[in-house]
Assembly symmetry: C2
Homo-oligomer: 253 residues x 2
């Protein structure tokens, strides 16, 4: 019998600019009385990474460009928010009333370029949260600090909630990953009957992100860090960037 | 501290046409010494539902239509397999060398209409596995039998591995669901700071499917049933069909 056990870390403070997320994880593990083992995974909600890295923008400080004003007319959205979306994206994929879908500079296609109003401190309605600048780097940095402090090799995944083409409902996906093959390659492996596997690319870090997101609870952002034990994987470590399908390889309309 | 605990059920036999999946689950739970509680979720790999329901096709019995022969030329794929894809789908979404993407009769968009070669008994290269005819109905039927036998209200999710637009790597999604809101509606809920939530539709059953798929291991199809404890949800029960984004609502290209 294999088991996968996910535990929310307790006593996570409200994260502020400059906070040390690795230190917060280590304190949470201590309070949860979890002793890290090799191969454990720490999944972190992207929001607290954004906050720790000061990825907050004040709308009253933003001057919309001509392109942003034009898109604001087209979509009925705030021109300053659109300006931020343009700055965060490499391409506007779709725009219509109430909706902007972009290719984010991190590669993925999503609504509103990952810009989020919720979970910014009350009385701060003028502020929005942007995604971390380089979440793969953030994950690697946090992992190094946790490994150094504990002497155990763990993995770190930074999770964000995304909508999807063709399906309703947001799910957790990995926007940052370190210490595991985010995109796991099963080429050459065989099934129970000796057949070579047909689907050889596994979205490992995305599934870990979804599993942890079940515990985050978007409304209870008091539990943005999950410890996960029992996952196994094959192959070389990679990054969440590996999960982005290159535009020219897109198979779906 | 909240916990989510997933356990693979042991001693699952090779499933054959006509097998009683609810009975296999109950035996597995007994062998794992798990006593069901209200709100537990049983996640089942779609393959064993297909096998129990006899959803196997013999390629040598299939006569390809003119359309299938045409698509076989276009894609370099087996015309008999394409004929099965056509029978399983409401629409061909994309076809090119080596690739067919369809809208399955169950609503979702995926490669090869969910038709699978792997994990069909050795010496049976001529056989392929089709998705269950009505997985939401299968989930409800299995759930009823488990509830009746144990006196506990559980939920059942039938999971399948799917590729995705814009992202590499397959993840687990729900193609059947009973006993929980597969698409969870968080409208009216508020975040930590009192803001109303922006993303109100949560792909609950898909995330449960992904979490369990981490344990299935496509190569070790000896563990196609996972018991999951600790998930919570809000609102009315629904079906996996609720997770299919209606074509006219598709926001992404």
């Amino acid at each position: 019998m294999s088991q996968l056990v996910l535990t929310t870390l307790p006593n996570i403070p409200l994260v502020k600019n400059g906070d040390d997320i690795a230190r917060i994880i280590l304190n949470g593990l201590r309070d949860a009385e979890i002793e890290l083992r090799e191969g454990d995974v720490i999944v972190i909600a992207s929001k607290i990474i954004s906050k720790a890295e000061g990825r907050v923008a004040r709308l009253s400080d933003v001057t919309p460009s001509a392109r942003a004003l034009e898109l604001a007319q087209e979509t009925d959205k705030d021109a300053r928010e659109i300006e931020l979306m343009l700055q965060e994206s490499s391409e506007i994929v779709r725009a219509r009333k109430g909706l902007i879908v972009t290719r984010h500079r991190l590669g993925f296609v999503s609504a509103n370029a990952g810009i989020d109003h919720s979970n910014v401190q009350k009385g701060a309605e003028d502020f929005v949260l942007l995604l971390p600048l380089a979440p793969d780097v953030s994950a690697a940095r946090i992992r190094e600090e946790v490994n150094r402090e504990t002497g155990k090799q763990v993995a770190v995944v930074i999770a964000d909630s995304h909508g999807r083409p063709h399906r309703l409902g947001t799910i957790g996906i990995a926007i940052g990953s370190a210490g595991l093959p985010a995109l796991e390659d099963w080429r050459g492996r065989h099934d129970l009957f000796g057949y070579e596997l047909k689907y050889t690319d596994i979205g490992l870090a995305d599934m870990l992100a979804s599993a942890a997101t079940l515990l985050f609870g978007q409304a209870r952002e008091g539990t943005p860090i999950v410890h996960l034990r029992g996952a196994t994987w094959f192959g070389k470590n990679g990054t969440a960037r590996d999960l982005v399908r290159p535009k020219e390889m897109d198979l779906f309309p």
